[in-house]
Amino acid sequence: MIRTSGLVKRYGDVVALDGLDLLVPQGEVLGLLGPNGAGKTTAVRILTTLLEADSGEAEVAGLNVQTQPEKVKERIGLSGQNAAIDEHLTGFENLDMVGRMYHLGRRRSRERARELLERFSLTDAGDRPAKTYSGGMRRRLDLAAALVAEPQVLFLDEPTTGLDPRSRSQMWETIQDLVRGGSTVLLTTQYMEEADQLCDDIVVIDKGRKIAEGTADQLKKQVGGERIEVVLVDLADLPAAGAVLRSLAVDEVQIDEPSRRLTAGVSGGVDDLRLVLQGLSEAGVAVVDVGLRRPTLDDVFLSLTGHHTEEEEPAAGDAKPGKGAKVKDTKKEAVR
């Protein structure tokens, strides 16, 4: 179980956390959703004893993080924002070392390292230095390291940021397996879709403050579920295309002229998409792209705060799921 109340952390003038309250009941997965700089990592660092809060209370697995950090460390696993593995050591050596540091003993550490390599499909790579690993493999190894001592509470800070779409969905499956095992997890992410896939509850934060809270469905209702996005060939078709979308939209149609893009929230899913296509072709509107997509963090922000996330691109080279993630949406249905 994780509980915080009124957590505050300042870095000079920057208020990284501004009175954050969180509650993650035993066996639940909480998604901490927010853009870059929202304070996600700061919250994780405080809860994992790496950082002291300026004020407020934090409790993990029934222990006060400020007064009993050593006990807390025995009960948690952390997979930080950047994979913290030693690239000169092999996967096995990395896990064995972590096992020894949890004081599992020589034999148990080795056994556990092999078990985890197996479980994370790293057996073949287990005796190679980790610097030969792909980004996805490093992330999996880092997650494995967090699980060495079978922690009661697990912290995953942006576990898929920077991964390519394939590694990302692999990672999702891994985390879903984990979650089925009944761990208490705090997971941070910049992706609405990720929180939707993996979390029981979602807390949306911005500038260190909670701005919304609820299940993925509750949030999506607030945000307006799926959206249809149309990119025009010719800006002159804007009024015609706008009319077609407005006939189905559940909210205001958003128009971005420079990119000739229209976006509208819909409730009818694929049926609505078909109707839009039909309407557009009847009106003789040529399009570059039409798609149905799930709301992104930016959509959530726009409807909750009336402004966009300040940084649209989370990190260089990042594949942002949600945008044009039609293939993934199909897969998502299969998973459910």
């Binding site: 790496l50 952390l78 950047n82 030693d86 050591l89 972590v98 540091m101």
Partner: protein, 266 residues
């Protein structure tokens, strides 16, 4: 387990990891052994022939200085290693694990003794090849080598603090060069301090590096017929070196451990 035993056991796990790393990146070890070889050869042949000091063979006089300089530079390895672990987030991982707060530093400084031992061994062999000789007993020679290791161990704790504080490998290397170079040169490492001008001379006489070089020189029997300078520090170089080691450790062990406790990767 007592907390010291726990710190040592955890430290051994960290040290093992550092030593594995040496086998994976042998280039580092090759470079650390190349530079002492280069120093011995350069000093022996470039300066050795042209600098004369009364009452001693300069080549022999020089070796103690090169030993001292090399182990001190060798200890920057501690700072660079910790800075690298900081930037790669490995210190964060260690800090989230239930190990002793001193373990990472004990492990790091401990495995770096091995590093310095290797460079001392390489330097000795190179020195012997160019004509350096130990003119005392085996016991005294060993005492000299141990004193070098002990001093470098203490300096490692200073570097540990620096490494955790600045958390950038480049800054550690450049900054320590800027500090170590004058400290090593304003001393009796390469030339006797007697000819230095006033304040520099006092500094050199009380510079622990002078005492180290003097102590090692005496233990190897390389002082020739020169009496040591007439100051307490150089009259009792072994004792003064040991006091310096104790003082450095007393300040920097707690300081470094505290810095580790609040270290934050960026």
């Amino acid at each position: 387990m007592s907390s010291l035993a726990l710190a040592l056991a955890d430290g051994a796990v960290v040290a093992k990891r550092n030593l594995i790393k040496i086998t994976r990146v042998p280039e580092v070890l090759i470079w650390t052994t190349m530079s002492p070889i280069m120093f011995v050869l350069l000093f022996a042949y470039v300066f050795g022939g042209s600098i004369e000091i009364a009452g001693a063979d300069y080549k022999e006089y020089l070796m103690a200085g090169i030993f001292a300089q090399t182990v001190i530079f060798g200890s920057t390895f501690t700072g660079a290693g910790l800075a690298e672990d900081m930037t790669k987030g490995i210190i964060d991982r260690f800090r989230s694990l239930p190990i002793s707060k001193a373990a990472v530093l004990i492990g790091r400084t401990g495995s770096d003794i091995f590093y310095n031992a290797i460079s001392i061994a390489v330097m000795s062999l190179t020195g012997l090849a160019v004509g350096w000789r130990i003119r005392t007993s085996l016991a005294e020679a060993i005492a000299g080598l141990l004193l070098l290791l002990l001093f470098s161990y203490a300096v490692s704790w200073i570097m540990a603090y620096v490494g955790l504080k600045v958390s950038s490998v480049e800054v550690v290397n450049n900054a320590s060069f800027m500090f170590i170079m004058p400290l090593v040169f304003i001393a009796n490492t390469f030339v006797p301090s007697d000819n230095l001008p006033g304040p520099l001379r006092t500094f050199a006489e009380w510079n622990p590096i002078s005492a180290l070089a003097q102590a090692v020189r005496e233990l190897f029997g390389n002082t020739g017929s020169n009496p040591p300078a007439d100051v307490w520090s150089l009259q009792n170089p072994v004792l003064y070196t040991l006091i310096s080691v104790a003082a450095i450790l007393a300040v920097f062990v707690p300081l470094s451990i505290r810095q580790y406790g609040k270290a934050a990767a960026r």
